[in-house]
Symmetry: C2
Subunit: 213 residues, 2 copies
DNA sequence: TAGATTGTTAATCGATTAACAATC
DNA sequence: TAGATTGTTAATCGATTAACAATC
């Protein structure tokens, strides 16, 4: 299957919206309704669906329950995905505390850190010594990891993860990680994202000023 | 100026790398060195530079100090950008505590929340009542805001921000916000990012299984 | 000079958007 | 049926990559 990363991301968002729509009693909708809610176009919606074989009815649009069932199937809601987080700093702990994961099939099973002061083996999820990372991941066959450590530690953590069997990583460290091609890496750089907002605000302001003159 | 969003993002990353390189005494480098460090190609690096008029020397590559100075100029390091965060939950507080912002020109000047239990007017930055958002932003001419509230409150918060004069927003709420075109919005959906990692891990596994058969 | 590197133009790739036939 | 909506094919757009001339 082709990756079509951006389409997949939107499928997750359609799903999110459909769950909300269902909760307020909606039973059927058109691609236009979805587009409107998502801030995209109905063409985009139908294109995404077409890519993944999701189909509706040429007269009555989409049946919400059917669509949702198909999306759940496609996106693998049914398989729980267990996740470890390395780094119990600000970001690691924020993710740990986020309650929204569980109902969508994501389970944070443990955090790891190198600082003994934050160990907490009896918490849920437990915060464990970094040295246990390999063994924990390997024994529990964990496939998804989050790297939320300072940049100078990130590559080292990733190397352990790979050895232990991790197949996909969400990386918050602001560094280009080296990894084999079959590892899926998703870099998220929050400082960069915020910096870019500031940049574009300034850039647009300059533009406006220029055009005013 | 064209937006070239992805190029701008990379410029910030080049800058980050140059600062580290400088700290270990490097004085000159080639596009190839930058590419290697960033996990991209030298063509990409030179293309990015070319887009923004950054030039090197056809024989000796780039002088680190010059390049850094030009990048700082371009990316506006010199203007401090003040930022408000709305929502003092997990994400809002994690961002607040992040120390890396200040040295790159970003200053979190206040958080806002609707829960009186988290108010703290004397902290740095202070956590203030949401009702003060409009007045604070307006009076201090803040232009950048972060939305880190639950999705059902996000649009409301954005509307206040816009009225108060905010021009760019980093939005963590998983919802498509409605806003005039001249507002710059950067959506960051952490759950979605993690879900997609899990998805691609499964998808690639399926692929591999299929090919093995 | 010969070799290495930059900077730019052209080609390719992937994703979005437009157009429109099929059909309920 | 006529009108509305889907699903797909073609066109466009933006970003990346390849090719290569310029030149230090």
């Amino acid at each position: 299957m082709k990756l079509a990363k951006l389409s997949v991301m939107r499928l997750f968002q359609y799903k999110e919206f459909l769950i909300r729509a269902k909760s307020i009693g909606i039973k059927n909708l058109f691609s236009d309704d979805l587009a409107e809610a998502m801030g995209t176009t109905s063409t985009q919606v139908r294109k995404d669906f077409s890519l993944f074989g999701l189909s509706g009815n040429k007269r009555a649009g989409y049946k919400l329950d059917d669509l949702l069932a198909q999306l759940n199937e496609l996106l693998g809601k049914n398989e729980k995905q267990r996740v470890v987080i390395v780094g119990a700093g600000n970001i690691g702990r924020a993710l740990m505390k986020y309650e929204g994961f569980y109902k969508d099939g994501l389970e944070i099973v443990a955090l790891f850190d190198s600082d003994p002061n934050v160990y907490n083996e009896t918490a849920t999820p437990p915060v464990l010594p970094l040295e246990h990372l390999y063994e924990f991941v390997n024994r529990n066959k964990i496939e998804v990891g989050v790297i939320a450590v300072p940049y100078h530690a990130a590559q080292q953590v990733l190397d352990i993860m790979i050895l232990a069997g991790i197949k996909g990583v969400m990386n918050f460290a602001p560094i280009a990680l080296r990894a084999p091609k079959d590892l899926y890496i998703n870099d998220v750089n929050l400082k960069l994202e915020l910096e870019s907002v500031a940049y574009f605000v300034n850039a647009l302001k300059r533009d406006r000023t220029k055009n005013d003159v």
